[in-house]
């Protein structure tokens, strides 16, 4: 406290002045706009150009969406209803949605692929998210058999016996693996084959148990076919890709050579030529009289294609592991199989996950190529039966837009998951 008399100074400020607001140009929206949109003249020009582009795009898109006709029997009706308002003829989607999604699948059986699709998420959950209880992995193991039964129908015994073969094989493997990995592996394979051979007779004898109406592979189409090809081929190509990657890293020259040739050959040719092979040429190379489903031949080819790419991703993961990990495994006295199974692969796979997801997204998109070999997937349905029909000839944007939208939703979802996972993995390492 000062002793200066109060009257000797005209005015004493006893409380601090409240801070003045920053100038209007330096706060709130205006500041944000100044900094982010018009910081330099060049920047301002770009902003204006962007706004024009956005306006132009929306001016096309919004009336098309808002004035769309959702209820009409043909493109001519659509045009009458719209009377030149420039809307889209979305009636084609409401009328043909079942063909776009399910292909020629029997109409009264749509619940089956739908259930299989919903269960797919349950089965994938423990694989995708570490927080989900591990016990669900059992369901993941059962899912392929369940899904096969649901989608293709037939007696449930087929998938059950197939599963039994794997179970027996696994038991034999776990008994024998203590002796050596090779013994366990071949023992397991042998046990599985014997089981399938025996149950083959059983299946013939017992006939139909809990049989669902059988659906021919040929009748499977639409977006469902894309999803089936995508999931089946990715899951099949993963183990194959691991084997190829290990083979390519192997010190045994012949094995390495075989893997290198396989991988480079597959990666060197476009998928479409492999599909031509599946469609046109493969039949020549199978025993006379045998006849594979086209869908099966395509699955084989796409799986080989994906496996080669996944092998390269995993090879990257293997190469990124510090040498010390290999040496540590050696110094523990682990043999090759143990070292790979317990030390190297778990880490290498973890590093490779983002790459594998990228391959998976690319593969899923590439399943549209089957439309070129006359399979009626989503794009095939659009280009074939729907656009060729008298009713809907000329409805391009609505159909292609719908197809693009479905693919975008799925692929964007997967890539967002992949980015999330990458962040998770990063925090782990820090």
């Amino acid at each position: 406290m000062s002793d200066t008399p109060a009257h000797s100074v005209a005015f004493v400020r006893e409380t601090p002045i409240p801070p003045a607001d920053p100038p209007a140009t330096e706060r709130g929206v205006i500041k944000w706009v100044r900094e982010n949109l018009v910081s330099t003249p060049a920047n301002a020009v770009m902003t204006v150009l962007s706004l024009v582009a956005i306006y132009w795009f929306l001016a096309l898109l919004v009336p098309w969406l808002l004035n769309g006709v959702w209820n009409a029997g043909s493109i001519r009706e659509c045009r009458e209803i719209m009377a030149g308002s420039g809307g889209g003829c979305f009636a084609v989607l409401t009328e043909r949605w079942h063909q776009l999604i399910f292909g020629r699948y029997p109409t009264d059986q749509y619940w089956r692929p739908t259930v299989a699709f919903v269960l797919l998420f349950v089965a994938l959950a423990p694989v995708l998210f570490q927080t989900v209880p591990r016990r669900l992995l059992i369901f993941t193991g059962l899912y392929p058999f369940l899904a096969y039964w649901l989608v293709w129908g037939g007696s449930i015994l087929g998938p059950i016996f197939a599963l039994a073969g794997f179970a027996v094989g696994y038991i034999a493997y776990s008994r024998l693996v203590d002796r050596s990995f090779a013994m366990g592996f071949f023992g397991g394979v042998l046990a599985a084959i014997v089981t399938w051979w025996i149950t083959g007779f059983l299946a013939d004898a017992t006939g139909n148990v809990m049989a669902l109406e059988t659906v021919e592979s040929r009748d499977i189409g639409g977006f469902m076919l894309n999803l089936i090809l995508g999931t089946v081929c990715v899951s099949l190509s993963l183990p194959l890709g691991i084997v190829l990657a290990l083979g390519r890293q192997s010190s045994m020259p012949i094995i390495k050579w075989i893997c290198v040739v396989f991988i480079e050959f597959i990666r060197g040719v476009p998928l479409i030529t492999l599909l031509f092979v599946a469609n046109v040429v493969l039949a020549y190379f199978l025993p006379p009289g045998s006849n594979f489903d086209l869908i099966l031949r395509v699955i084989i080819m796409i799986t080989m294609f994906a496996a080669a790419y996944i092998a390269e991703v995993i090879r990257g993961g293997l190469a990124a592991l510090p040498r010390g990990q290999y040496e540590a495994a050696d110094s523990l006295g682990l043999d090759y199989a143990q070292a790979m199974r317990l030390i190297i692969l778990p880490q290498a796979l973890k590093i490779s996950i983002p790459g594998i997801v990228n391959v998976a997204v690319g593969l899923f998109k590439d399943t549209t190529l089957v439309s070129i070999i006359a399979m009626f997937d989503l794009v095939g349905m659009v280009r074939g039966p729907i656009l060729a029909s008298t009713d809907w000839n000329g409805v391009y944007w609505e159909l292609f837009g719908f197809a693009a939208f479905l693919f975008f939703v799925v692929c964007y979802g997967i890539s967002q998951y992949s980015q999330w996972l990458e962040r998770q993995l990063q925090t782990d390492r820090r």
């Binding site: 944000w32 900094e35 982010n36 949109l37 910081s39 920047n43 770009m46 902003t47 962007s50 706004l51 582009a53 956005i54 010190s251 045994m252 020259p253 012949i254 094995i255 075989i258 480079e264 050959f265 990666r267 060197g268 040719v269 476009p270 998928l271 479409i272 030529t273 031509f276 092979v277 046109v280 040429v281 039949a283 020549y284 190379f285 199978l286 025993p287 006379p288 043999d335 997204v361 998109k365 590439d366 549209t368 190529l369 439309s371 070129i372 794009v379 280009r383 391009y396 944007w397 292609f400 197809a403 693009a404 693919f407 975008f408 692929c411 964007y412 890539s415």
Partner: protein, 404 residues
């Protein structure tokens, strides 16, 4: 001092082939080799059996036969009486044309989008993010079909240019954008035009020489020569001078509407444009991501270090950031080029006559020689891929960080 004696040498026993790690790998390889040969042998014997049953054989004689069909885009002379082999070569050249154009456009688009996505202009960055995500997440086949539909449905047909009061008109009387493609003036090379072209090529060489000299001067003496304006001058002045000195030996042939179509000039067909653009925009989205990743991979410290050395911003970019970023960007860039080339086989969806459309399309249909045609098709793509990979390996080795 003790002398180490070798352990007693074991004599080789048969069981060691399975149990001894020294020999086991031979066993495995032997088994794998036998299995491979058996598998290949099985395939070949099946094929032989099947072909015999059908009374067919494997023969490449069809390549010499007359093809019988016409191709619209012919980089080399071709008519329907030429052989299937020549038709295939036309296809190969068409593939290379679309791949080359696509790669260049994709690179430009990708670099621009990648850099703009890191721009501090919020709206531009977001717009680029939308572009990248929209194109990366939708199959390229759908994009090709969409762009092809845009081309055919939105652009006017040549008929719209006709009549007293045409609904469309040519740009500068030189360019016509129709749904059959874009028509542009074509240069006519008269005598003496070679000299102009050579002058032009020489002046490009001169630009490089001048820049190398400027750089050397900078490193030797520290003197900074201007490069931008002299380069521009060297680029234009000699060629234009030569052009006029020789009495304008190069003239332009303008397209004009005659009969059903525009005649004269240069036509870039709709199928080529659709394929080219679709591939470029699609691949550009991937390249944008690579470029962004490459730039972000360079730590901020590099920029700051360069700034503290007193370098100006554009020199920081040219001398410090780009050389490092390029090492990250180029390998994935080249594999994107490879993908683009392979994706160009989707030409078949829009009727562009590339190798898949000629050899793998009409030739295969007309001759029924499926095995032979597809084998040749695969060999062609394999050759391209392997050569690009080889170039990539050479490059990778040359830019590898020399760690000492």
């Amino acid at each position: 001092m003790t002398v180490m004696t070798d352990p007693p040498r074991e004599s080789f026993r048969l069981s060691m082939l399975l149990n001894d790690t020294r020999y086991r790998s031979y066993t495995f390889q032997f088994i794998a080799l036998i299995a491979l040969f058996l598998f290949i042998g099985w395939l070949i014997s099946n094929a032989a059996q099947n072909l015999e049953d059908l009374g067919q054989d494997i023969s490449y004689g069809f390549l010499g036969e007359s093809a019988g069909y016409d191709i619209n885009q012919r980089p080399i002379e071709y008519n329907s009486q030429d052989s299937h082999l020549r038709a295939s070569i036309v296809g190969v050249l068409n593939t290379l044309i679309v791949a080359f154009l696509g790669c260049i456009t994709a690179t430009v688009l990708g670099v621009v989008a990648g850099v703009l996505r890191l721009s501090n202009n919020w709206i531009v960055a977001k717009l680029m993010a939308v572009y990248v995500e929209a194109f990366r997440n939708v199959p390229v086949l759908i994009w090709i079909l969409i762009i092809f539909s845009i081309m055919t449905v939105s652009l006017p047909g040549p008929r719209a240019f006709r009549g007293e009061d045409p609904s469309s008109s040519m740009l500068f009387d030189a360019f016509a954008f129709t749904n059959r493609g874009v028509y542009a003036p074509k240069p006519i090379w008269e005598s003496g035009s070679m000299i102009v072209v050579i002058t032009f090529l020489l002046s490009i060489l001169a630009i490089f020489a001048y820049r190398a000299y400027a750089k050397k001067l900078l490193y030797d003496t520290g003197r900074l020569l201007p490069t931008f304006w002299p380069s521009i001058a060297i680029f234009f002045v000699p060629t234009i001078l030569m052009f006029f000195i020789l009495g304008r030996p190069i003239s332009l042939e303008y397209p004009e509407l005659r009969g059903f179509n525009f005649q004269g000039g240069m036509q870039i067909r709709g199928s080529l444009i659709a394929l080219w653009f679709a591939l470029a925009i699609y691949t550009g989205a991937f390249i944008a991501e690579n470029v962004r990743a490459g730039i972000m991979a360079i730590s901020k410290g590099q920029t700051e270090a360069a700034a503290s050395l007193g370098l100006r911003p554009n020199r920081i970019m040219n001398l410090v950031i780009l050389p490092q970023a390029l090492r990250v960007i180029i390998p994935p860039l080249i594999s994107q080029y490879l993908n683009l080339t392979k994706n160009s086989s989707l030409a078949i969806a829009v009727g562009y006559m590339d190798i898949t459309g000629t050899l793998g399309g009409i030739t295969l249909n007309q001759t029924g020689r499926a095995i032979e045609a597809i084998l040749l098709l695969m060999l062609f793509y394999l050759t391209i891929s392997l050569s690009i990979s080889a170039i990539m390996n050479v490059y990778n080795n040359s830019v590898k960080l020399k760690e000492r």
